[in-house]
Structure formats: C-alpha cells, structure tokens
Amino acid sequence: MKVATTVGIRELKDRAAELVRRAAAGERIVVARHGKPRAVLVPLDAVQTAASPRAEAWQRERDAFLGMRPSALARHDGRWVAVCGGRVVSSDTDLDRLSERMARRLRGRTFFVARVGHPPALVEMPGFEIE
C-alpha cells in the first residue's frame, strides 16, 4: 500500500493533471485546506469496488448457496430457500412469505434467497440503467 501524499488547494490547482494521473495509478492524494485534510483523490476502481459490510455478507451467503452440493438442495427443489450463516435456514413455495418470515426471525441479519433448480429470474426494465 502506498503512503498518502498531502497537497494544499493551491498545489491541487497548479498540478491538477499530474495529481489526478498519480491518483488514477493508485496513489492516495489527500487534499488539505488550512492544513486540515478535507478530501481524498483515489482511483475510480477503489470507489466502484468498495462494498458495504452488508453487501459483502450477502455475497458470502450467495457464494455459499452456489457452492452447495445439488444433493444437499434436492429436497428443496423448486422451492425458495433462505441461506444464512452458510446454510439453508428455511424454505417456502412463496418468495414474499419466506422473505417476511426471515426478516422477522433473523432480525436484521443478512440472508440470501434463491429458488432451487431455477436460474435468477429474467426481469425487463426498459428504462433501466444498470448500476
């Protein structure tokens, strides 16, 4: 990890192109005003890939589901399952009912929901720009 470089507002103005180039290359540039750090220039990738703890937890549960052996899921075939803590904690034929039950039971803990034996549903969003 590179050490941060601190620059003032005037230096930022005078050397903007160079500082942006260095930040894009991975250097952390701290912008200070009156000697106090106020902002940071970081590579765009660092912002786009930064995931919240909740998003990371969801991704872990999703990975756990995708890594489950088909035989372990066979008895849930065609049903919606909720995965929490790396294991199936409940299943239902109705997505909304399962979601509501899990939200009550797990009290804010992150869980992943999928339908066993089915790929993620295809949804049409004609006016949609994917984030």
């Binding site: 979601s99 295809l122 949804v123 969003m125 949609f128 720009e129 994917i130």
Partner: protein
C-alpha cells in the same frame, strides 16, 4: 391525489414523490419515481441503497438499455407514496438519479394517467 406530469422529462412524465425506508426502520430518503408500467420491478438510485444501508435478498437477470441480461441484487424497501405505505417492495439499483415505479408496486395502487391533460391521479380504492 392529483399531480401534474413532470415537465423535466420530454414528453412530460407521470412522476410521484416517494419516501423510502429501510424495512422496519425510521430513517428515510425522499426521491422522485417515474411511473413505468413497462418495468417488471421498481428501480431506486444507488445512492438510496447506500444511504439506507439496504439489504439485498435475491438476484435477478435484468435487461435494460441494450446488452445482455446482467445479474443484479434485489433490495427490499418500504415506501410511502400518495398516502399509501407499501412494505418490503423489491427494487434493483439504478445509476439514474430518479427511481422507476415498476409493476410490482403499481399492482397495489390505483393510478390513472390522463395523457392529454398531463395529469396523474392516485385513488384510494377503499374509499371508492
């Protein structure tokens, strides 16, 4: 409740002011949502997902502006609009600054679009 179409869009578009909550929480974010009967699900600005620290549950393959379907997380939100409260609605995140009110939300409310008058009416069906 009647509301004129939003003329920031061309042609003017039916838009509702929405207040979104993380399910069972008090913190909220307000934003505009365009009524979109062509959208299977609601879409909310990514900043709203971040601000409310929303939880994803399942994923879907979304088809939007061109390109192949892309797998995206689906979040749950509670929303208030035109005096209605809709709980645990599903929504995907969008890079746009406004939201889309898709059919998973519209199926719960009575929305009338008067194109020539550029006016949107939301009726409470329980009151007739």
């Amino acid at each position: 409740m009647k509301r004129p179409y939003d003329r920031r869009f061309a042609p003017a578009a039916p838009v509702l002011r929405v207040r979104a909550f993380r399910p069972s929480a008090l913190a909220s974010v307000d934003f505009d949502a365009k009524v979109d009967t062509g959208a299977d699900l609601c879409a909310i600005p990514a900043q709203v997902v971040e601000a409310l620290d929303l939880s994803a549950e399942r994923s879907v393959r979304a088809t939007g502006f061109g390109g192949p379907p892309q797998e995206v997380p689906v979040y749950r939100i509670d929303v208030e609009l035109a005096g209605f409260r809709l709980s645990r609605l599903e929504a995907v995140a969008t890079a746009r600054s406004w939201a889309l009110l898709g059919r998973n939300a519209l199926r719960h409310i009575d929305v009338r679009l008067d194109g020539p008058r550029e006016q949107l009416t939301v009726r409470n069906r329980s009151r007739g």
